[in-house]
């Protein structure tokens, strides 16, 4: 082959690779039929967020179905309940078409999970046009209950305000006044930066600079080298990265010895699996906001034991959140006596409850945001870690009324 032809073939191949061909859709089928509830879990099953939520969330939803059946027995309104799933590969366009397929062809009554903010917003649009229920657990953006809210979409779990309010506020008040924020350059990172900046400023802090970083990215050294030279010198490096990117960043933060140079680390969003990847010592002392922790109470632990028996792992807050969302959906169907979307929405709006995931919880009627207790956590040093996966110390509970923002005027249901 001649060099030019070779180059062309290579370019075609690169385009193919860039387009990404990792894994097809998961899940099985189901036809629309009366008297059947179909719960669909739409999330990342092979990419960067597959361990944070992924296939284990399907198990969590199945646990919710089993518990509902056991609780109501013959009195259950929904006699036949099925769980299906699909992989959105973290791409909004894939999420859009999968959501349409799940609602139309697979007869899904509710779509659950949907991490990755851009994908979640796409699904919210589909839910609105199909008048079908969508309960988002995995995505962080506040746009879901703000400008892009709608009658059929519920934001269930956490959001960037909750993360920023706990971490940004506390770290600033503890003396970390000057922040250098680096964020992955996509919807989630941009939204996080906005929420953190607001929270830091409200607590009397300053944003020295914020820089977008490539996503995904394996080399953060430029930003780490830049940090000590900024004027004024930042006291805190605010990292908005998640998953593998966060792992890369923390490894390199330690390598450059920034802590010794007086620049502390604050992490926007961290999952249990991230701490496991880095080992607790790489993060010891780091404070962050958490929506739920498996070993925070005997109840949580009992549920986490059941989850571990099924999946072999300890649950992240996303797993527990999916269990809770599926449970509350089924409870709402039970109260409504039907699975018609409008009737179920009415049952969910304003509903107050408490379950293994959501404590002191209420689904706010104005914008469909789930309010519940959040937590400020700290990573334990390995000397305090007594068993596998027990990496967090809960420093304080942020009550439900404080943990989340006021309703956004832009949201009109």
């Amino acid at each position: 082959m001649r060099p030019f032809g070779r180059t062309a073939a290579l370019a075609a191949g690169m385009a193919l690779l860039a387009a990404g061909c990792n894994g097809g859709p998961g899940g099985g089928g189901g036809k629309i039929s009366d008297g059947k509830i179909e719960l669909a879990v739409l999330n990342d099953q092979s990419g960067v967020y597959a361990d944070v939520s992924g296939k284990a969330s399907i198990e969590a939803v199945k646990m919710a179905v089993a518990d509902y059946k056991a609780k109501y027995g013959d009195k259950a309104v929904a006699k036949k309940i099925e769980v299906t799933s699909a992989d959105h590969q973290n791409k909004p366009e894939v999420a859009n078409s999968k959501a349409q397929e799940l609602y139309d062809r697979q007869g899904a009554d509710v779509i659950l999970d949907v991490p990755t903010s851009s994908a979640a917003l796409a699904v919210a649009g589909v839910a609105k046009s199909k008048k079908k229920i969508f309960m988002d657990v995995g995505a962080g953006t506040t746009a879901l209950e703000g400008a892009q809210c709608n009658k059929y979409t519920f934001h269930y779990g956490y959001n960037t305000y909750m993360l920023a309010h706990g971490t940004g506020d506390t770290v600033t008040r503890d003396g970390g006044k000057n922040w250098y924020i680096i964020y992955p350059d996509y919807a989630f990172g941009q939204d996080m930066t906005k929420s953190f900046s607001a929270s830091i400023k409200a607590a009397g802090g300053t944003i020295v600079k914020n820089d977008p970083t490539p996503f995904p990215n394996d080399n953060f050294s430029t930003f780490l080298l830049k940090a000590p030279g900024l004027n004024p010198k930042p006291q805190v490096l605010g990292a908005m990265q998640a998953g593998g990117d966060l792992v890369n960043l923390v490894k390199q933060y330690n390598e450059y010895g920034l802590k010794k140079k007086g620049i502390g680390l604050a992490v926007g969003l961290m999952f249990l699996s991230d701490i496991h990847s880095l080992g607790p010592d790489a993060l010891a002392g780091t404070k962050f906001s958490d929506a739920w922790y498996w070993n925070a109470s005997p109840d949580n632990r009992a549920w986490a034991d059941r989850f571990k028996a099924k999946t072999g792992k300890r649950p992240t807050f996303a797993h527990a959140g999916n269990y809770s969302a599926a449970t509350q959906y089924l409870e709402a169907v039970q109260r409504a006596g039907t699975d018609k979307s409008d009737a179920v929405v009415k049952q969910l709006e304003g509903y107050k409850f408490g379950d293994v995931f959501a404590k002191n919880a209420q689904i706010r009627a104005q914008d469909h945001l789930l309010l519940h207790d959040a937590y400020l956590a700290q990573v334990k040093p390995s000397s305090e870690v007594k068993e596998d996966w027990d990496y967090e110390k809960i420093l304080k509970t942020v009550p439900a009324a404080e943990a989340f923002q006021r309703p956004d005027a832009a949201c009109k249901l």
């Binding site: 030019f4 361990d51 050294s221 430029t222 991230d274």
Partner: protein, 287 residues
């Protein structure tokens, strides 16, 4: 500024090590090896697995894992690549592409997508004073190993008889064959050596980057662009462009962070418009 540029050399070292293997394999076999990123990932996982399962330290993994992967490369060449050599190069391209996905999924199946912990070797955990600035010792080490590996490859290729044959076969396969040299005999070790270089890059990456099944596929597209910039099949070009792209990316990160991800592709387009065969590629044959 100087420190940023120096830091670019370290990421350039990874590009160069990977591009070097790709260029040699491509030049001699005509195979666009899309599995190269997966071999890099296996290098890092190899280091993790031997540490986690057998307690084998970084210092032993550093030579052993690349050699083991080189053997895997030899098997892959013998069992798979060779069979398709006579067909259109597209077949081998699809084969390696599929192989990359399979390797990635097998690792994913066993370990999930979350990153695996891998500590920095304690002997290299501090910083060293380089005169103008202090710098993490491990990164200096990575740069040193990469330079030594590149020099060693250069020495073998330019100063030994075997290297001469490989070079001849890389640049002019038909002519070399016409001179009565059995090019096919050299193909297997060259493929193995290329894979071993990717494995070496992987082991070096484990203490400083996230060890997960996707680490290779995230990197390989940029590395292909590096190879194209250097000139397909040009050994010297791939090393030079590897380091150059590393430095330019670091400087872009510093001044215009939002541009850094696309920089390598912009460079590729510019270079191809200017010199369609890449910076150090052969111009002939372009009609």
């Amino acid at each position: 500024m100087l420190q940023q540029a120096f830091d670019g050399l370290v990421s350039g070292a990874f590009y160069a090590l990977l591009a070097l293997g790709l260029a040699v394999i491509f030049g001699m076999l005509g195979v666009v090896n899309f599995a190269h990123g997966a071999f890099y990932m296996l290098g890092a996982f190899g280091a993790y697995v031997v540490l986690d399962d057998w307690g084998v330290s970084f210092w032993i993994a550093l030579p052993v894992v690349p050699v083991a992967l080189g053997v895997v490369g030899v098997v892959v060449e013998r069992v798979l690549i060779r069979r398709l050599a006579a067909l259109d190069p597209l077949y081998n391209f699809l084969l390696t592409f599929g192989l990359a996905l399979i390797l990635q999924d097998l690792v994913k199946r066993e370990y999930g997508v979350q990153s695996q912990p891998y500590p920095r070797p304690s002997a290299l955990s501090g910083s060293v004073d380089l005169g103008l600035f202090t710098y993490p010792a491990y990164r200096v080490f990575v740069l040193g190993v990469a330079l030594v590996a590149c020099l060693a490859v250069w020495y073998v290729l330019s100063r030994t008889r075997a290297g001469m044959i490989v070079r001849a076969a890389t640049e002019r396969p038909e002519l070399t064959r016409a001179l009565g040299i059995d090019v096919g005999r050299w193909v297997t070790p060259v493929f193995g050596a290329g894979v071993a270089l990717a494995g070496l890059a992987g082991v070096l990456a484990a203490p400083m980057r996230a060890v997960n099944p996707l680490m290779g596929s995230d990197l390989i597209i940029a590395v292909f662009a590096v190879v194209v910039i250097g000139g397909l099949g040009s050994i010297f070009g791939s090393v030079v462009s590897g380091f150059a792209v590393g430095v330019l990316t670091a400087l872009t990160d510093f001044y215009v962070p939002s541009l850094s991800q696309t920089l390598v592709f912009i460079l590729m387009v510019v270079v191809l418009l200017w010199r369609p065969a890449g910076l150090f590629g052969r111009e002939e044959g372009i009609a």
